[in-house]
């Protein structure tokens, strides 16, 4: 029982990332009717916002400490980040908190990137065939990816969570299991909570604001809303910015869990597509639900008992393909996905 619970919560953080990316994909697909193959790149860009931010913060003053020498016998060069030179302990704390703080930078940057992408490129593809939309966003994803590689190199760049969140929480003890049976790193817990609040924020935004109401109406019937004299295009552009920001934030906060590299976007993109298909193309709650479900499922499939069972029938490492298998089954049995509207994908 405790083992099951452990796998369940282990799946939540990956599920959160899937849910956030799938949410953005669905927002863009629902409002603009475009499948954005560059959406994974936005997730990756978010992660590199965090990297950039911490690089900026740790720009260092180099001083020479004459009392010490390095291993070659030269006087030792000491790097002290300017921010520590200027602000002392407060500066150190800022550095420590660079990942969460980089959110402040990531939001405007990602919104700007999203809006530029939509106005500069995707706008011109609304009336082109779907294949062209896929191709051009695919090309864009390659370009973004390679630019990041040119600037940051191909190796993953580890980012640390604030020290306050090092270590794990013993959830098992809290709910009456033995010690050390269910432990969960603090940062993953934060990631989960953060994702849930962003998802709640997006839903609240769509539900309770006039802006959101118009966007939802536009998702249902773009032409009619346009006829009402509402500038739906501008709102959709902003929605694209919001979707980019959601993907970016998912990326920022994911950096301590998984060191970012330039290819991470593509890996998550493929899985997020699967999530969207399982959840139901165009359904926002579906995307979120399927994201968490598949994350948890993947986690369960990686349990030794289950892995061994499938290894016995000739399928070791079932956790690597379980998501795809589920997607195929869902597609054959219920093509519209879990919460998709009737008619979608059923022709």
């Amino acid at each position: 029982m405790d083992a099951l619970l452990l796998q369940f919560i282990n799946g939540l953080d990956k599920g959160s990332a899937y849910a956030l990316i799938a949410l953005g994909l669905t927002l863009i697909f629902g409002t603009l009717g475009v499948v954005n193959f560059a959406h994974g790149a936005l997730f990756m860009l978010g992660a590199f916002c965090a990297v950039t931010f911490s690089k900026i913060l740790s720009i260092a003053q180099i001083t020479i400490d004459p009392t010490k020498t390095d291993f070659l016998g030269n006087p030792l060069k000491v790097k002290t980040p300017y921010i520590e030179v200027w602000f002392g302990d407060f500066g150190t704390a800022l550095l420590d908190w660079s990942v969460p703080l980089s959110i402040a930078m990531a939001i405007p940057v990602m919104i700007l990137i999203g809006i530029t992408m939509e106005r500069g490129l995707i706008k011109h593809f609304y009336n082109r065939p779907h294949a062209d939309q896929i191709l051009v966003t695919f090309g864009l994803a390659i370009v973004i990816q390679e630019i990041i590689k040119a600037f940051f190199g191909a190796n993953p760049i580890p980012q640390a969570a604030p020290q306050a969140f090092f270590g794990s929480m013993d959830i098992g003890v809290m709910i009456g299991f033995a010690q050390d049976t269910i432990i969960y790193p603090y940062w993953r817990l934060i990631y989960f909570a953060f994702s849930v609040s962003i998802i709640a924020g997006v839903f609240a935004f769509l539900r309770f604001t006039t802006f959101g109401m118009v966007v939802r109406a536009g998702m249902a019937d773009r032409e009619t809303v346009g006829l009402l004299g509402i500038n739906i295009d501008r709102r959709f552009t902003i929605m694209f910015g919001v979707a980019a920001a959601v993907a970016g934030l998912a990326g920022v906060m994911y950096t301590p869990i998984n060191p970012p590299n330039y290819q991470m976007g593509m890996d998550f993109l493929v899985l997020s597509f699967v999530v969207v298909v399982v959840g139901g193309m165009g359904s926002l709650p579906g995307a979120v639900l399927a994201g968490f479900l598949l994350g948890v499922l993947e986690s369960f499939a990686s349990m030794p008992e289950i892995k061994n069972f499938f290894a016995g029938v000739g399928l070791p490492a079932i956790d690597q393909i379980i998501i795809y298998l589920v997607a195929v089954i869902v597609l054959l049995v219920r093509p519209r996905g879990l919460l998709g509207k009737a008619g979608i994908m059923e022709d």
Partner: protein, 379 residues
């Protein structure tokens, strides 16, 4: 209906391909390994074009069939014989079976859904090859020849050496003629000519499909599926047939890659490889006969020259520039070459999709028209 001069096109194409070691000499691309890659990826792209170019179904999953072809071929090398014929046959057959299964499921949807499904299948196949089916694929390391492989049809090779792939005794790697021509040292090897003959055969098959009623139905699917259905045609078997045919071409290409170098790894199945063949076909000219081959050659050539350029080479090129401008220009160009050549590829691809949806073939036609117009004005 337009008159096609197919015999002439085929003849010219065959002559160009067979003379490639001579014709490519001035470009520096005339060494066997690269030319063989041109031919193999040409076959891959020709096949892919039958699906994407004719029916408009955009698959991101064809790398899986390339990989299946490679694995199948290497298994034949391990178990049966180093002769490439059984290996290529099994590669095509296995890729055909795989594409039938994947196609049957994916083609229940169309448009973007189909693309997403094939993408998911490609990633799934990659994961299967990488970890799930390790007994068959040897996981991360990849499938390789071993000294203790049975190879039941072959005589045992000399102690401690691995046999090489051959066509009834003609070794693929062997350079059979090495003349000097106009100052260029030319290399003719068997491996290239095997691939070249299969490329010509593939081109011929594609040409026949393009001109056949079957090909006409495939084009009709791209143009208007509603009308086709109300015309009494069931489009799914046609798309499935096109999918399987293109999968078999991919399998052949994968098998040929294994004849060059008898090993197969999971990275060959990664969907980025499937993305690359999309680039080739779109860059060359979607739905045209020669475009995909042009695209394949173009991309493989670009990869070859760009990835060799490093900072030192660039500094040599721009040494004539004064002072800091040299460093500046080198810094700008550097991300596009060497290890970063994918950036050039991505940018080029976007430019083609945005400004030249017809690809290189269409672009050259347009330029030709422009010149003719200018010439007319001047006359």
């Amino acid at each position: 209906m337009a008159k096609y001069n197919d015999k002439r096109t085929l003849l010219i194409f065959a002559i160009i391909v067979l003379l490639a070691p001579v014709l490519l000499a001035p470009t520096g691309a005339a060494y066997p390994d690269l030319m063989q890659r041109f031919a193999i990826y040409g076959i891959f792209a020709i096949g892919f074009n039958i699906l994407f170019g004719l029916t408009g179904y955009l698959s991101f999953g064809h790398a899986a069939f390339l990989g299946v072809g490679s694995y199948a071929a290497v298994w034949m090398f391990k178990l049966l014989t180093m002769n490439i014929i059984p290996a290529l046959i099994l590669a095509v057959v296995m890729a055909g079976i795989f594409s039938l299964i994947i196609g049957y499921i994916s083609l229940r949807r169309s448009g973007i859904y189909f693309s997403i499904l094939t993408l998911a299948f490609a990633q799934m196949s990659y994961n299967m090859a990488y970890s799930v089916l390790t007994p068959l694929t040897n996981g991360e390391t990849g499938l390789q020849l071993r000294l203790d492989d049975p190879r039941i049809l072959d005589a045992a090779p000399p102690e401690g050496t691995l046999p090489s792939t051959n066509f009834f005794g003609l070794e693929m790697k062997e350079v059979f003629w090495n003349p000097t021509f106009l100052g260029y040292e030319l290399q003719f090897n068997y491996g290239f000519y095997v691939s070249a003959l299969l490329l010509i055969l593939s081109f011929y098959i594609a040409m026949r499909i393009f001109r056949s009623p079957f090909g006409m139905m495939l084009r009709a699917i791209k143009t208007n599926q509603t009308r086709l259905n109300y015309t009494g045609i069931s489009s799914r078997p046609y798309t499935l047939a096109a999918f399987v045919i293109s999968g078999m071409f991919a399998g052949l290409a994968g098998g040929l890659l294994a004849t060059m170098d008898p090993l197969a790894g999971a990275e060959r199945m990664q969907w980025t490889v499937g993305g690359e063949v999309v680039l080739m076909v779109v860059l060359g000219g979607l739905g045209t006969l020669t475009g995909p081959i042009l695209g394949a050659v173009f991309i493989k050539y670009l990869e070859n020259i760009l990835s060799k350029i490093n900072e030192v080479v660039l500094q040599g090129w721009f040494a004539f520039l004064p002072g800091w401008t040299e460093g500046f220009v080198v810094a700008i160009v550097y991300p596009f070459v060497g290890k970063g050549w994918h950036l050039t590829l991505g940018a080029l691809f976007m430019i083609v999709v945005i400004f030249l949806p017809g690809g290189l073939v269409d672009g050259s036609k347009r330029i030709g028209k422009l010149f003719r117009r200018i010439a007319k004005r001047e006359a």
